[in-house]
C-alpha cells in the first residue's frame, strides 16, 4: 500500500474513533511523536495483509481520553491501570477501523493489544503524528512483507 494512502487511512480511522467514543478532536499534524511521559500500545493483526499497529499518547492525553471513555469527570480519578486498559481498547478500535477500510472484502483477526514502551519500528512503518485537543498522538502501522 502506498505510504500516502496508508497514512490517510490511519488518520481517518483515528479521527472516527477518537471523535465517536473518546470525545477527542484532532487539531492538526505535528512534526514528531509525543515527547516526555507517554502511554503506548501495539497490536498485531492477521489478514490480507497482516502486520502490526501501534500508537503512543502523551500522558496528559492518555488520562483525558481514559476519563472521557469511562465517563469520569475528573481525570485524576482514573488509575494508571484503567488508563492502560482504555489505551489498549483505543488501539484495538483504531486498528479495527483502519483494517475495515483496507480489507473490506476479506476478514482479519486482531490480537489482544499490549502496552509497550512506544518504540516505532525502525523500518517499513508508515507513521503519522497528530496534535489533539488534549495532547499529542503518534500512530504507526507496518504491513508484513513491506
Amino acid at each position: 500500500m502506498a505510504e500516502t494512502g496508508a497514512g490517510e487511512i490511519l488518520c481517518a480511522a483515528a479521527q472516527q474513533v477518537l471523535e465517536t467514543m473518546f470525545f477527542t478532536t484532532i487539531v492538526g499534524e505535528r512534526q514528531g511523536p509525543p515527547e516526555g511521559p507517554a502511554v503506548a500500545a501495539r497490536v498485531s493483526f492477521e489478514g490480507s495483509p497482516s502486520g502490526t499497529f501501534g500508537l503512543k499518547l502523551s500522558a496528559e492525553a492518555a488520562r483525558a481520553i481514559a476519563a472521557n471513555f469511562l465517563g469520569v469527570e475528573n481525570d485524576e480519578e482514573v488509575s494508571a491501570a484503567q488508563t492502560g486498559e482504555v489505551i489498549c481498547e483505543l488501539a484495538n478500535m483504531v486498528c479495527g477501523a483502519m483494517l475495515s477500510r483496507v480489507e473490506s472484502g476479506s476478514t482479519f483477526q486482531i490480537a489482544h493489544p499490549q502496552l509497550d514502551a512506544g518504540e516505532e519500528p525502525s523500518d517499513g512503518a508508515v507513521a503519522r503524528y497528530l496534535d489533539l485537543d488534549n495532547g499529542a498522538l503518534a500512530l504507526w502501522v507496518r504491513f508484513d512483507g513491506q
Binding site: V17, T20, L70, E89, G96, E103, T107
Partner: protein, 128 residues
C-alpha cells in the same frame, strides 16, 4: 421484571462503557453479567439465564464466532438474542455473524444511540 444482560468482551473498559450505555438508555436492568471470553460466558450461561447477549468477536480462549456457534448448538440457549459488538466492520464478517444466528451487529466505535437502538430492536421494546 427487568432484563438480564450478558456482556462478553476481553476489555474491562469496553464492558464498563457498554454497561453504562445500557443503564443510561433507560433499560430496566435486573442484572448485568460480564465475561472476558466465550468460554467464561458459556459457563455463566449454564448457571444464570439471560435475556440478551452482547459479544465481541476478537477474544482469547473462545472468540465470538465460536461462542455464537456454541450458543446456537445448545437448545437451552439458542433462543437468546445475540448482538455482536465488534471493531470489524467488513461486510464479510457482518454477513458471517448474521448467518451464524446473531440478531444484531454494532460496529465499534459506536454512538450510544446505535447500541441502544439495536438492543431495543432485538428485545422488541422502545424506551423513546
Amino acid at each position: 421484571m427487568g432484563y438480564r444482560v450478558l456482556i462478553v468482551d476481553d476489555s474491562p473498559a469496553m464492558r464498563s462503557v457498554i454497561r453504562r450505555v445500557i443503564v443510561l438508555s433507560g433499560f430496566d436492568l435486573e442484572e448485568c453479567l460480564e465475561a472476558e471470553h466465550g468460554g467464561e460466558a458459556c459457563r455463566l450461561l449454564q448457571e444464570r439465564p439471560v435475556d440478551v447477549i452482547l459479544t465481541d468477536i476478537n477474544m482469547p480462549v473462545m472468540n465470538g464466532e465460536r461462542f455464537l456457534e456454541a450458543i446456537k448448538a445448545d437448545q437451552s440457549l439458542e433462543a437468546i438474542p445475540v448482538v455482536v459488538v465488534s471493531t470489524d466492520a467488513t461486510e464479510h464478517r457482518i454477513r458471517r455473524m448474521l448467518e451464524l444466528g446473531a440478531q444484531g451487529y454494532v460496529t465499534k466505535p459506536f454512538f450510544p444511540e446505535s447500541l441502544r437502538g439495536e438492543l431495543e430492536r432485538v428485545l422488541g421494546v422502545n424506551y423513546g
